[in-house]
Amino acid sequence: MFDPQTLPLIFASLMGLSILLYVVLDGFDLGVGLLFPFATEAERDRMIASIGPFWDANETWLVLAIGLLLVAFPAAHGAILTALYLPVAVMLIGLILRGVAFEFRAKAPVAHKRPWDAAFWAGSLMTALSQGFMLGLYIMGLRWGWAEIAFASLTAVALAVAYSFIGAGWTILKTDGALQIKAVTWARGGIWGVVLGMGAVSVATPLVSPRIFDKWFRFPEIVALAPLPMMSGLLVALLWLSLRRLPTRDDSFAWFPFAGAVTLMVLGFFGMAYSFYPYIVPDRLTIWQAASSTEALTIILVGTLFVLPVILCYTVLAYVIFRGKATKLSYV
C-alpha cells in the first residue's frame, strides 16, 4: 500500500513534527518552571495555573516522538539512546521531579510547598539542560570527547535559556499586572541568550561537519536558504522592539513575544532538520537504513493518519477552552 522508499520519509516527518511540537509546547511550561526562582509565591501559583491544564498533554509529544523513533527506526533508537545513556537518565529524573512537584505542591502539607517548588525548578532545569546537552552531542555526532562535551554544555545552557524565553513569552500572554511586567523584563534578558545560543549552534554545526557546511554554503542552495537566517534576524529585531514597549495599556501585542519565540524555534528546527537530513544517526545511519519493516510501518501509519488529526483537534480544543488570562486553578 505504501512505497518502502516514502514510508521512512513520512515517519521521519511525523517524528520531526512531534519533536517540534514537544519543544515548543513543553518548552513553554519547562520555561515557566525555570523562571520560578524569580517569582514570588503568589506569582508562582499564577504561573502554575497558566500551565496546569496543558503540561501533561505537552509532555505526551515527547512520548510520541520517542515512540516513533522506537517503532519506526529501531536501529537508530538503540544507537542514540545507549550513546546518550546518562543525559537521558538525568532528563527522566528531571521530568519525574517536575511532573510530581506540580501536584505535590498543591496537595502536600503547606510546610512542604517550598521544597516542592524547589523540586519543580530543579526538575525543569535538569530536563532543559539535559535535552540541550543531548542536542549538542547529537550535532557533534554522538561522540564523547572533551570538545564535544564542551559544545554540548554550551547547547545545554542555550536550550535552557530558549525555554526560559518562551516561558516568559507565555507568562506575558497568560497573565497581567505586576507579573506580566516582570515577565517582560525576564524576556528582555532572555532574548540575548537566545541570540547567542542560536548563533553559536548555527556557526558550530557547519564547522564540525563538512557535509553540513557544504549543504548550506554551496550554490544555488545558499540563495534559497538565505531567507532562513534573515527571517530569524528580523524576528529577533521585532521581538526586541516589542519587548521595549510591552506591556501595552490595552494588552494588545501581549501575544507577540510568545508567537515570536515559537516562530524562532520553528525556524531553528527547520534549519537543524535540513542539516541532518537524510541522516537519523549523524553521518552513520540514514532514515532508510534504520527503518523497520514495511508491514510494521504501514500498520502504524494507518492508525496515525486517522488518530493524529483527532488528537490535534482536541488539543486545540483544550487551548480554546483555557484561553485568556490564567485564573486560579480549581477543581470546581
Binding site: G52, P53, F54, D56, A57, E59, T60, L62, V63, L64, I66, G67, L68, L70, V71, A72, P74, A75, H77, G78, L81, T82, L84, Y85, L86, V88, A89, L92, I93, L95, I96, R98, G99, V100, F102, E103, F104, K107, A108, P109, H112, S292, S293, E295, A296, I299, I300, G303, T304, L308, I311, Y314, L317, A318, I321, F322, L329, S330, Y331, V332
Partner: protein
Amino acid sequence: MDTLLLSRIQFGANISFHILFPTITIALGWVLLFFKLRFQITGAQKWMDLYLFWVKVFALSFALGVVSGITMSFQFGTNWPGFMETVGNIAGPLLAYEVLTAFFLEAVFLGIMLFGAARVPVWVHTLATFLVAFGTTMSAFWIIVLNSWMHTPAGYELRDGVVHAIDWFAIVFNPSMPYRLAHMLLASGLTVAFLIAGLSAYRALRGDRDPATATGLRFGVILGALLIPVQIVAGDMHGLNTLEHQPQKVAAMEANWETRGNVPLVLFALPDETLRENRFELAIPSMASVILKHDPAGVVPGLNDFVAADGSALHPPVAPVFWSFRVMVGTGVAMLGLSWLGAALLWRRGADALPRPYLHALTAMTFAGWIATLAGWYTTEIGRQPWLVQGVLTTEAAVGDVAGGMVLSSLLAYLAVYVLLLAAYIGALFHLARKGSVFPAAPALQPAE
C-alpha cells in the same frame, strides 16, 4: 557489577514503581465517573464531596503514573535495545497505538476534567471524565496485549532472527490476553475499593462525621466484596491458561519438581534449586492436582522437565515465584474475609456504626491492592524467565551494551527518587484525608434538572 543483573533490577524497580499508579487510576477513573453521575442524578452533596476528594487522589496518581511511564519507554532503548531489534515489528505498533489512542486522550481531557468544570457545560465535563477513564483503560488494554504476547506469542514468524507480524488479530487476541486483562482490571478495581475503604475508615476513626465518609466507606467495602469473588474465578482461569501455555511457571508457583499425579498443594516450603526439592514442606495432599486439573489424580508438570541437557535450568527461579504467588493469594484471601465481614457489618449496623477494630483493619489494608498486584506481577514476570519473549528471545540476549557503572548510577538515582516519592505520595493521601472534604468554595457543578 554485571550489566544484565543491574539492568533487570533497574527495569524491575521502575516498572514496580510505575504499576502502582495505573493500578489506581484505571479503576478510579470509572469510580469518579460513577460519583459524578450519582451527584447529577440524586443532587446529594456527598457524591460531589466524594468526587472532589478522589479527583485529587486521581490527579496525583496520574502524574506519578505519567512520569514513571515515560521512564519505561526510554529504558527500552537505553537498556534493552535487543528487545526492539528482535520484536520491534510487533511491540512497536502496539506501543504506538497506546500513545495514539490512549495517552493523548487521557492527557488532554484530564486538563479539562480537572480544571475545566467552570469553563465548559456540565455534559462536556462529564464527557471529559468518561474519556479520561476510557483512555486509562485503553492504555491498560494495549500494554496488556503486548505483555501477554511476550508470554504467549502468536501470529508471527521469525525471519533472520527478527520477528515479523503475519496475523494481527492473533497477535492482539493472543492466548493469555483476555485472562490477563480481566485479572489486571479486576486487580485495579480491588486496589481502588480498598484504597477508598481504607482512607474512609481512617477518616471515620478520626471522628469525621461527614456523610461522604460513611458513603465512601460503604462504597469501598461493597465494591471490594463484589469484585473479590470474580477476581478469584478470573485468577483461577488465568492460572489454568498459564498451565496450558507456560507449564514451567505453574510448576514454579507450586514448587512441584516432578511431573506426577496427586500433586499436593504446598502451603509452606523453602524451595531449594541446588537439591531440587522443597525443605520444610507443609502441604495438603493432592490439592494442587484438584485445583489445576479438577481431579486428585491429575498429572501436573514438574520443574525437572525443564532442564537443558547441560543441566542449566529452563524454568524460572523457583523461590521468588513460589513466594510471590503465596503473597498474592494470601492478600486476596484477606481481602475476601475483610470485605465480606464488612458487608455483613454494614447490613446489620450501617456505615456509621462499624466497630473500631474493623476500621483499624481496613486502614491497615489501605494499600493491600498494591501488595497483591505487585506480588501477582512478580509471579508472572519472574515466572517468564529466562525468557523475555517466551520461546523467542531471552532476557540475556536483549540487554544493551552499557557499562555496569552507568547502570548502577542511574539505578541508585531512580531508587532514591522513588523512595522519596512513594513516601510523599502516601503522606499526601493521608494528609488529604485529614483535611477532609471541606471545601472553601461552593461547587459550580449543578445537578442536571
